[in-house]
Each structure stands twice: as structure tokens, then as C-alpha cells.
Amino acid sequence: MTDTVLELTKVTKRFGDFTAVDHLSFTLTKGKILGFLGPNGAGKTTTLRMMLGILPPDEGTISVLGRDITKVRERIGYLPEERGLYRRMRADAAIAYIATLKGMKRADALACARKLLLNFGLGEFARVRIEGLSKGMAQKVQLLAAVVHDPEFVILDEPFSGLDPVNQSEMEQFVRNLAGEGKTIIFSTHTMQQAERLCDGIVVIAKGRKLFDGTLDGARALFPRRARVGADADLSFLRNVPGVVAAAAPSNGQANWTLDMAEGADGRAVLAACFEKGVPLTHFDLAPPSLHDIFVSLVETAA
């Protein structure tokens, strides 16, 4: 039995003359969390809709759980970007309705929905209409509706948008728990910190094309480490220090100089050069590039 849960092969989707997704290929293995990243209009939602079988690809193939999507709808959970629930339905009935469409019996679906709501701290709101819930509560209800039928593969489109930090943290834990249960998860997001904390792998796309596909470490390896150096003096001399590829003066509210380091170089040469010049430092750190930096670099390069 294959471990590949999702496989896209040269998938293309056009709307008239506009190519929303352009020969996109990647795979996702069982039990992993994949961050699907890209700027607005990159083609993330279109790709997710194709994975769900909502939109057919114009070219290429998509295999979900080893089969055509239409054969495995009931084994997939989906959380849309904007909340899709009937406003006048009660929370437990809303969850149970989706579950029944995914193949559960109504009585079981209702019992599961109430149990999930209880576990998620929403037990007392089970009989409240969706329109009477706060945005955070409705978001949780929507997420529960996506997983109540115990899917093997969960697709989350911007699951954290609009949530306060406490709810975001709860939602992150919920996603981790799902992965802990062996479910495979793909989620799209703009929030790089969450992707950094949650993902085993990332796929970055822009203008419908794939820019990166791999692990976070793999992404970091593509970009130089950066040192940030603070001092009340001109540090442009650091450009000539061995191991420093580039040095950027403080700008745009940045108080420190930013140094791009060559592969394998550490900060000792920089510190030594400052000491030799007699420049007292107010700040020094050396860290791998953040996902945010990687994302911005990738997207800027693509642009």
C-alpha cells in the first residue's frame, strides 16, 4: 500500500485567458502536515478546489488516497477559507449535516457532533444557531464539521484567519492532534509563523507556479544565514570580512545592519573584525532565515 495520500502531476487550470495554476506537481505522504503557501492570487484556493474535485483540472492529474477524488470524497475533510455554514442551523445539526453527506448515519453524526463540541468547550452551544455564535466559535464549529466523519485527509484553507491568538493556539493544537491521529493535512496560510510551527513540509507557489517544494530545513538551506549587527558606527567595512556575502545598512525601521553569510561561515570573523576596528557592538545575532524571509525572497524572485 502506497504512503502517498496526494499526488498532483502537472496540473493546470485556466479561466479564459488567465492561467490560475500552471503545471503544478507535488506529493504529500501519509501522516504529514503540508503548508501550502503563496501570496494572494497565487492559485492556492483553485488548487485546493481541484484537489476536492470541485473544479476539474484542464491538464494534468490529481490522485487522492490513491484514487480519483470522486471515489474518495467521504474520506476527505474540508474547511473552506470563508466560513460555510447555514446561519440558521444549530451548531450540532450543522456539523451532523456535513457528516451525513460524508456517509455517516444521522444519529451517529449527531452524537459525534455533540461529543466533539463538548470536547472543544462548546457543549453548551450545541443547540445555538450558527448566527448566534462568535466568529471564533463558528470557526471551531466549521473545523469540527470538517473532521467529524474521521477523514484520512484534511484540507484546510486559511484555517487561522480571523482568529484571536488564544483561538489560533487552540486551533494549532487541534491540527497537531489530528496529525497525531495519523491524518494527513494540507493547509494554506498567509501566517508564516504558524506554518513554521506546524508543517513537516511546505509548497510555495506564486502566479500558479511552484517555487519551492520540500522541508523547512531544505528551504533554509537554499538561503544564507543572516547576522544582525548593531553599533553606533558605520559597519560597511564588514563587507570585506571573509564569509560575509553582503551587508545591508539599517533601513525601514531596522536598527541593525544585516549581513548575508556564506555557507559554513560563522560569526566569529565578524566579531573579530569589529573588535579590531574598536567598534563597540550593541547587538549581535546569527540565525537561519525565517520562513517569512524565505517566502518573501521566493515570491520576490518569482515577481
Binding site: F15, R49, L52, G53, I54, L55, D58, T70, R73, I76, Y78, P80, E81, E82, R83, G84, L85, Y86, R87, R88, Y97, I98, T100, L101, K102, A145
Partner: protein, 496 residues
């Protein structure tokens, strides 16, 4: 199939649990009841009082004789309807066949003459009393349309009649005053004058005009042929006896009227139920699009399952609507007189027979599905209710067209217009419901039925395609030309 059922169930629950559902459902019978009851409460058509100042002589009596004849005719018509609903026809036929003949042909001059010779309503009721069925209500004679009031003395010789009559008209002594001048009927004098405070009742004016015309004709004939004086040949009118030669027979009297109105009622109910429910369907789809619920549904079911489920849900809502209206009708029937109940059921039986009932149900379901499919397609193409309204306007104008043709079709249900328009696919269910009681030719009946079924299947299929194509897009709704082009592409298999 299971998902289709689940979506249908959800749609049904969603619509019937709306706050406005039962209000709008009950509004229709209330509306009908008001249409029926208000004229009864207000006494139906208003009774008009009039006076006559006849300076020529003889014309006042002619008008009053005609008024008496008309009142007797109205009473005879009402009595015939009352007897058909409240008397044991078989026993009456055996006991008094002449009376039965008279009541079966109330419009015949001979019947009216016999009725008056018998002694009018009171005498007829005495003769009928032994044959009335248990529970028969009392006979209520119709209210006279026009009532004669003698003229005040000072009007008789008033020089300025208009000035003299004004205080009486203003004081509501009578509604209309008719002045027949002294030269009326002599030479060129043939103009009577009718005085009213403001507007004139057209029926009263027509009654007076016809009666005076007849009187003028009779006077001329009497002058030309004095030997006819005293003969009733001058007042005789012709009878036209109706004979139906088809096997279907023909209802008579009030049944005939009801039999005409039942198909109109059914067709209007189809239209009202369709528009009512299909509008909600359209609104639901637009809301689902804006709330992205549609995305969740599409991740669970195919577009075809969703559209089918929604349409089935709407049919279920429509059936509940019909059931509720039927219950209201039964409740009203329980309060109505037995005769009215029998008449309504007799009329319904004449339309919804064992042979036609399945066809009526088929037309109703197909009509509902056709309207529902169109509205669903519009909803899936619209991004907002404003968009939907813009598309709905032209669609409603097209769909409402049958309503303006009802009277034309009912005047001649098997005529050329009816025969042609019944083949227009969107309208077939509506017009065939109107025509079914008139026994259209077999070719038209079965041909249009097949066309209706084919149209319905095509529209459900087409709606699935339109829904899948448009429901997730935010592009502008297509133009009518674009829609037509896409339809052709779909049919020729060239669309994506």
C-alpha cells in the same frame, strides 16, 4: 442518491422552518377568501335604485315589466342551482318531470313563463319541499340588481329637470333618475335622459337602453301591424338549446362555472407555488454562494446531486403547501353549506378524473421543476441578490406571459391560439392544465405531455451544467446571447 436525498431533506427543512413560510402559505387562502367573501359581505354587486319620469307615456311600464322579468329570471337561475345541489333528483323526476324540465333549462323563455305561471319562487319551493335532501339549507333568493322608486311629485312637471332632480340625487333618494321626454318615440325623438350625481352604473344604463330600444321597436311594429296589438309575439324571444355530442358530456348550471374556474385555479396555483418556492430556491443559492456554504456542499456531493436535491426539496415544499391549502379548503368546506361543497367537489371531479389526475400531477410537477430549474440556474449565475434581480426581471416577464393569456385560452380552449401555445415548452404544463377539462385532441395531449417531460429532463440536466460552471465563479453573469451560445455548445458537446 443518498446525498441527493440528504440535500433535499435539508432544503425542505430550511424552507419550512423559515419564519415567513407559514405566514406566506396562509396568506394565499386568506387572500382568496377575501376575494370571495368581501363581495358577499358588501352584498355583491351594489343594488341600484332608480326612478322614471315618463312624459311620453307607456315606457315606464315597459321598463318595469322588463325589470320584473329579469328578477324572475335571476330567481329561477338561483332556484335551479339550489335544486341541483339540494334535491333528490331521481324522486323529483318521477314525481314532477315538468318541474324538472323547467329547472334543467332555466334560461329558456318557456321555462320562465311556466315559472311565473306557477307562482314564482314561493310556489316552486312549496312544490319542491318534499324532495329536498336532509341538511339542505334554506333557499336564498338573489338580491335584485335594480329597484324602482316612484318619482317625487314635483319632478313630474319640473321645467328644469336637472336642477329639480339634483337635491334627490344628493340626498340619495335614488341613484339614478330617468327622464323620458314627451316627444320620445315620435318622429326623431328617441333620446331619453339619465341623471346621476357622479358616475353612472354601466349595467343599469345598458338595461334601460336595451329596454327602451325594445319598447321603441314594439311601438313601431304596432303602428305598422295593428293586428299584432295584444299579441305576445312582439315580446317573444328565441331559445337556443345546447346539445353536446361528444362522449364527455357537459356539466350544467353552476357546475359549468366551477368547471371553468377549477382549471384556472389549478394553473394559477401552479404559477404561484412555482414562483414562491423557486424564488426562495434562487435566494438560497445566492446566499450559499456568498457564505461559501456551496463550497462545502461541492466538496461532499456532485453539482448534479446538489441541484437535484434542491429541486426535490422544493417539490416537497410545494406539496406541503398544496396539502396545507387543501386542508384550509376542507376546513372552509366544513363551514360551508352542503350544496356548495357538493358543487365544488362535482366541479373538481369534472376536471380531476381518474384519467386526468395523473396528468394534472405530472403537469404540476414538471411545471414546478421547469420554473425551479430556471430560477436555480439564475441563482448559480448571480453573485448577489442584485445580480439575481437583474436576471430575474426578463425571466419573470417571460414566465408570466401565460397569465395574461388565460381569458383568451379559456374562451376557446381547443382553438388555434391554445393549440399553438401549448407546444411552447416552458408554457406547456400551465396551458395543458387549463385545457385538460376541455378534452384537447389526443395528439396534442400526448405530444405536449412528452414535450413537457423532455423539457423538464433537459432543464434539470442543463441546470446541473450551469450550476457546475458558474456557482463558484465571481465573473459577471452571462448575457442572454452568451447563455444561448453556451446552450448550443452544451448540446453539441463542445463546452468544457
Amino acid at each position: 442518491m443518498r446525498r441527493t436525498f440528504l440535500i433535499a431533506r435539508q432544503e425542505f427543512i430550511k424552507y419550512v422552518t423559515r419564519r415567513g413560510f407559514f405566514i406566506s402559505i396562509l396568506m394565499f387562502p386568506l387572500w382568496i377568501a377575501l376575494i370571495v367573501l368581501v363581495p358577499q359581505w358588501t352584498g355583491g354587486a351594489p343594488q341600484r335604485t332608480f326612478t322614471i319620469v315618463d312624459r311620453a307615456g307607456g315606457y315606464r311600464d315597459a321598463i318595469l315589466q322588463e325589470l320584473s322579468r329579469e328578477n324572475a329570471q335571476r330567481e329561477l337561475n338561483a332556484l335551479a342551482a339550489y335544486v341541483s345541489a339540494n334535491a333528490d333528483g331521481d324522486r323529483l323526476q318521477r314525481a314532477d318531470p315538468k318541474l324538472v324540465d323547467l329547472l334543467n333549462t332555466p334560461q329558456a323563455e318557456e321555462s320562465l313563463r311556466s315559472f311565473r305561471a306557477l307562482g314564482g319562487t314561493s310556489a316552486a319551493l312549496r312544490a319542491l319541499a318534499p324532495f329536498l335532501i336532509p341538511g339542505a339549507g334554506p333557499f336564498r333568493p338573489p338580491v335584485a340588481r335594480f329597484v324602482y322608486v316612484g318619482p317625487p311629485a314635483r319632478l313630474q312637471r319640473a321645467q328644469d329637470f336637472a336642477a329639480a332632480v339634483r337635491p334627490f340625487l344628493d340626498g340619495d333618494r335614488f341613484y339614478v333618475a330617468i327622464l323620458i321626454p314627451a316627444d320620445f318615440g315620435t318622429g326623431t325623438g328617441r333620446t331619453a335622459q339619465l341623471f346621476a350625481r357622479d358616475q353612472v352604473d354601466k349595467e343599469l344604463r345598458a338595461f334601460v337602453t336595451d329596454t327602451l330600444s325594445d319598447a321603441l321597436h314594439r311601438n313601431v311594429l304596432r303602428r305598422l301591424a295593428p293586428q299584432l296589438a295584444g299579441s305576445d309575439a312582439l315580446t317573444t324571444t328565441a331559445d337556443v338549446e345546447t346539445r353536446v355530442t361528444s362522449n364527455h358530456g357537459a356539466p350544467s348550471g353552476r357546475e359549468d362555472v366551477f368547471s371553468t374556474f377549477v382549471p384556472i385555479g389549478l394553473a394559477l396555483i401552479l404559477f404561484i407555488v412555482s414562483v414562491m418556492n423557486a424564488s426562495v430556491l434562487l435566494q438560497g443559492v445566492v446566499e450559499e454562494k456568498s457564505s461559501r456554504m456551496i463550497e462545502v456542499l461541492l466538496s461532499c456531493a456532485t453539482p448534479r446531486e446538489i441541484t437535484s436535491g434542491k429541486l426535490i426539496g422544493v417539490i416537497a415544499v410545494a406539496l406541503v403547501t398544496i396539502v396545507i391549502w387543501t386542508c384550509v379548503l376542507i376546513a372552509l368546506m366544513a363551514m360551508a353549506e352542503a350544496s356548495t361543497v357538493r358543487l365544488v367537489f362535482a366541479a373538481m371531479r369534472s376536471v380531476a378524473t381518474v384519467g386526468t389526475l395523473p396528468l394534472l400531477l405530472l403537469y404540476f410537477s414538471c411545471g414546478l421543476l421547469i420554473y425551479g430549474s430556471i430560477f436555480l440556474a439564475i441563482g448559480s449565475m448571480a453573485n448577489s441578490l442584485a445580480d439575481a434581480q437583474a436576471l430575474l426581471g426578463p425571466a419573470m416577464l417571460i414566465l408570466m406571459l401565460p397569465n395574461v393569456m388565460i381569458s383568451g385560452i379559456m374562451r376557446d380552449p381547443n382553438g388555434e391560439l391554445a393549440s399553438i401555445i401549448s407546444w411552447v415548452p416552458f408554457y406547456t404544463p400551465f396551458f395543458m392544465m387549463l385545457r385538460i377539462a376541455s378534452h384537447p385532441p389526443q395528439l396534442q395531449l400526448w405530444g405536449t405531455t412528452a414535450l413537457t417531460i423532455a423539457t423538464t429532463i433537459f432543464l434539470i440536466w442543463w441546470t446541473g451544467r450551469v450550476f457546475a460552471r458558474h456557482v463558484l465563479t465571481t465573473e459577471r453573469p452571462p448575457t442572454l446571447a452568451g447563455l444561448a451560445k453556451r446552450g448550443v455548445q452544451m448540446l453539441t458537446g463542445r463546452s468544457r
